[in-house]
Symmetry: C2
Subunit: 233 residues, 2 copies
């Protein structure tokens, strides 16, 4: 970055926003949080939640704040990471906006309440969301977020972000199945996931789903990378 004699007045200002791809699992179906826009442009269209970065706030902090505001949950559990930035000159007709998109993965959360600027907010099944026209370039952002999530399940312990602090192997498998959109062999999955050193910590307790043998409850270990990975192919 060079910044020689930068004259702020010589450039029109940029607005910087954060947009969120918030994914969760509801009834074994992958959902994304969308808001219905209450103002132009794109009034009435569905959009990813987001908002302006405040003057004294870092990008990650802005994303955390928006996540909390839009879900209505303080200290949202799960995972939050930067996805990419989108800054086509004409992506917003009003002014030059650069949006820094974030990907959030969370366990099942309560129904969202619409914010001041949104007509509605709702958890929408991802397959459904991808068939709607979304505001701005949000269809692209959503695609990028989904692809990131799918890829990272292979080599990171991110699937656990969709679960509570304690979970069973079957819980984890349902996450993989929902995100990847295909069934996995429960037996091979069990062997693979329990075979990753450091991934799962046995709590010593079990949980019964009503029918069948109760499953061991695990907590997430402290690994950051899965060796060997859980592959998609």
């Amino acid at each position: 970055m060079t910044l020689p004699g930068y004259d702020a007045a010589s450039y029109p200002p940029f607005a910087v926003t954060v947009d969120l791809v918030v994914l969760t699992l509801r009834g074994d179906v992958l959902h994304v949080l969308l808001v219905e826009r209450g103002a132009d442009p794109w009034r009435g269209a569905w959009a990813l939640p987001g908002g302006f970065v405040r003057p004294d706030e870092g990008l990650d902090a802005a994303a955390e704040r928006e996540l909390s505001e839009e879900t209505g949950v303080r200290d949202v559990p799960g995972h939050l990471e930067q996805l990419a930035s989108y800054g086509d000159p004409d992506r917003d007709p009003r002014m030059r906006v650069v949006s820094v998109a974030y990907l959030a993965l969370a366990p099942d959360l309560p129904e969202p309440h619409a914010g001041s600027d949104a007509a509605r907010a709702a958890w929408v099944p991802v397959a459904h969301a991808q068939r709607r026209p979304l505001a701005f370039d949000h269809a692209r952002v959503l695609s990028d977020g989904l692809e990131r999530a799918r890829a990272k399940l292979e080599y990171s312990p991110l699937a656990a972000a969709f679960c509570g602090p304690e979970f069973t192997v079957a819980d984890l498998r349902r996450v993989y199945e929902a995100v990847w959109g295909r069934a996995l062999d429960p037996r091979n999955f069990h062997r693979k996931v329990t075979g990753v050193p450091g991934l799962l910590v046995d709590t010593g307790r079990t949980r019964s789903e009503g029918r069948g043998r109760p499953a061991t409850l695990y907590r997430l270990g402290d690994v950051t990378t899965l060796h060997p990975p859980i592959t998609r192919d």
Copy 2:
């Protein structure tokens, strides 16, 4: 993104820049393009090249323009992709700056010439660059860029971006060795890389390095993902 009644005057303006991690191979050693800052802040410190995004220019276009300007080469061959964005409120003491970092991989390029705003510009061995204090948060950006490059060599045909349009298997291997920082078995590498369907297109010609059997010259095929991958472990 919500943008209710946005009053541009109610927020101080953000500046948006692109910063570049430009990697190349020079004599089998991985180098990064750095500039010596000619103005405060960080006058005299080394920094990643970059500059302001212009009002009517997209982020990718700004990165391409800066890459061309800073290397002194029109239509730089190789690969350019967005890396991440960095926007801590105090990363630049003069004003609020959000930097969108890009990763560029290029074949060996001529010595750069300092721009108007930089005292010097030079290709610096990566190991050396990582030991220097870099301006702003550029040490972090450089690390992130290197890690991205290392990871993407595993499953993408990106190594060819470091080579010319035609290259030998040994050329490719030297890229992997330089980026990963470790020696690879030439025989196993050869079998692996020629075994990826669609990756290499035999030109029918060979190139002799002076000693030893001449190597087959290949062009890059049209695959985007390596199946199976070239793993690091």
